[in-house]
Amino acid sequence: MAAKRGTDEMRDRVVLGEFGVHNVHTTDFPGNYPGYEDAWDRRRFEEAFRVDIIREEEGALEFDMVGIDAAIANAFRRILLAEVPTMAVEKVFVYNNTSIVQDEILAHRLGLIPIRADPRLFEYRNQGDEEGTEIDTLQFQLKIKCSRNPQAAKESSDPNELYFNHKVYSKHMTWVPLGNQTDLFPDADFRPVHDDILIALLRPGQEIDVLMHCVKGIGKDHAKFSPVATASYRLLPDITLLQPIEDEAAEMLQKCFSPGVIEIQNIKGKKVARVANARLDTFSREVFRHEGLKNLVRLARVRNHYILGNY
């Protein structure tokens, strides 16, 4: 029985020891463990696999994937970063730029602005096509001029009072439909995702007049096409107390972990520690710094439970 428990631990937990991490690699391949059925079985995978959505917000999603191998979860992460297409500014036609920001710097900044446009509505641009057609290009215009405010107070030095339009934000970018795009997308609202991205600063007399072409691309080509700020995952923590821990040791144990992980219950007058919610822990391994506690706790991670999202 102890041997079976040991192999079970080796198979589905990644153990964090004091000086290193053990059982990191996946070992459940057919033939490695006698008595275990490890050959690929589609039905077994489909029964065990599940996705739990924890939280969904405007710009963030946190969810769990349970029952999948590390290689495939990692492949999803890499694909999210590099191979999901988006629209981003590729060509900038500068008609007039008398601002202090150089043309190429301005073009670089405009390229990095995320655009709210569903890339599935557009095609990829053909190689070598310089002009762009209406099925693969989205056109934006940024035309802004800074002027002095005649009503400003004589002694004021606040640029917000003295000048009009001295800060160029992404909300000043307007969509210019090409060809039949007005008919194709009658309700569409193509604009940058965030309105308050500062592009450049101007002073009176300076102006920026550019036309931008957005194309569809993937992150592998240029990072501006990557749709995610970042996509990362961690494994579900699994904390086991090997012996009951009481009184002072329990208090010390609670301080070793992130708040909410260990809770102290009052059983028959004594304070006993219990693992309440291992998921919240960030594994600082503080417990290994205390001689009395380090052998009473086993820190591990569940090998096939992935938590993707912001923590």
Partner: protein, 73 residues
């Protein structure tokens, strides 16, 4: 995926150069089966896995959103 096939004795890959999109894949079977078969099976199984993950994810998103609608009302 290919490693999960009991007929495969050895399986490994390496990327010859990061700038080129080329992978050297080596599969050795336990004798009898041509090595292309586990490779083909692995690719088909992988497609099945990805399709199932997509379906499960869509289903979970729909349930989560329906549940949120109910809570709001």
């Amino acid at each position: 995926m290919v490693m999960k096939n009991p007929d495969v004795e050895f399986c490994g890959y390496c990327i010859t150069h990061p700038s080129e999109s080329k992978i050297n894949f080596r599969i050795q079977t336990r004798g009898g089966l041509p090595a292309v078969e586990p490779f083909r099976k692995g690719l088909n199984d992988l497609m099945g896995v990805c399709q199932h993950v997509l379906n499960t994810f869509e289903r979970s998103m729909k349930e989560y959103r329906a549940q949120r609608e109910e809570e709001m009302q």
